[in-house]
């Protein structure tokens, strides 16, 4: 199903193997946003997509791999009801095998790392149909971004 990175076809799906580092995430986002240009999304939808993809990839880098590095596989496919995203990594499982709630009140706890809570708050606000499972040593996170829904599939 995956197209070559330089010939992305979002209708059949694109898959990227991403270096689990902050710079790897930045580079992957650049490629993904370029691939998304053909959906001709508005600025608001484009911004929301980049933000959610950044948050889920950062989570894999910082939490699943705890900054020690690894590979993240990200697949995107555009369907009539939006952009379907699957993220796979081989890092540690989410606590209690559940997606974190995302909290607004980390500020009051005095935590030096309020970003974890902020990240899931953002993801939960912008993504739909979020599902997580642990599958043979892999974290599999699936969600949908309800963008580009007026466009016919190419």
């Amino acid at each position: 199903m995956s197209a070559e990175a330089d010939l992305p076809d979002l209708a059949t799906g694109i898959t990227l193997s991403i270096d689990a580092t902050p710079l790897g995430v930045r580079r992957a986002l650049g490629m993904l946003m370029q691939a998304l240009e053909r959906l001709e999304l508005g600025a608001d939808e484009t911004g929301a997509v980049e933000l959610v993809l950044a948050e889920v990839l950062n989570n894999a880098v910082e939490h699943a791999y705890a900054g020690k590095g690894g590979r993240i596989e990200l697949s995107c496919r555009h369907a009539p009801n939006g952009l379907h995203v699957t993220l796979r990594d081989r890092g540690i499982a989410m606590p209690d095998s559940q997606i974190p709630a995302g909290t607004e009140n980390r500020l009051r706890s005095g935590s030096d790392r309020p970003d974890g809570g902020f990240g899931w708050l953002i993801i939960r606000n912008l993504a739909r149909d979020i599902a997580y499972r642990r599958d043979g040593g892999e974290n599999v996170l699936i969600f949908r971004l309800a963008v580009g829904r007026d466009h016919a599939m190419h």
């Binding site: 710079l23 948050e55 500020l107 970003d115």
Partner: protein
């Protein structure tokens, strides 16, 4: 991360000269901010007009800078573009900071 600083009417204006405050830039941003903030009391306006993308790491860095301010210091934000504004709204951090449409408005709102 390059920050440009300018003092105007007793306010330190810190302008981010980068289009992204993402996870790859957040720590350097935080360090540069701490270096750009004077030690005494006063108001700091962070000009985000050049920033087109921020993620929760960048947001966390700004919040952390705000939390580490000395007594009598205050950090306001100015010139947030839509992608930056979205992150502050979704996390309710828009209720924690004074946010001005632009640097000129931030200075005009400054009384005393």
């Amino acid at each position: 991360m390059q920050l440009d600083t300018q003092d105007s009417a007793g306010v330190r204006i810190v302008s981010v000269a980068a289009d992204r405050i993402d996870a790859a830039a957040a720590i350097r941003f935080k360090d540069a901010m701490r270096a750009a903030i004077p030690s005494g009391p006063g108001r700091i306006v962070l000009d985000l007009g050049a920033v087109d993308f921020i993620d929760s790491s960048g947001l966390g860095a700004i919040v952390s800078v705000m939390q580490s301010l000395a007594p009598g210091q205050r950090l306001d934000l100015a010139a947030m573009r839509p992608n930056v504004d979205r992150v502050f709204r979704l996390t309710r951090m828009d209720t924690v900071f004074a946010i001005h449409p632009g640097v000129a408005e931030a200075l005009r709102d400054h009384v005393g």
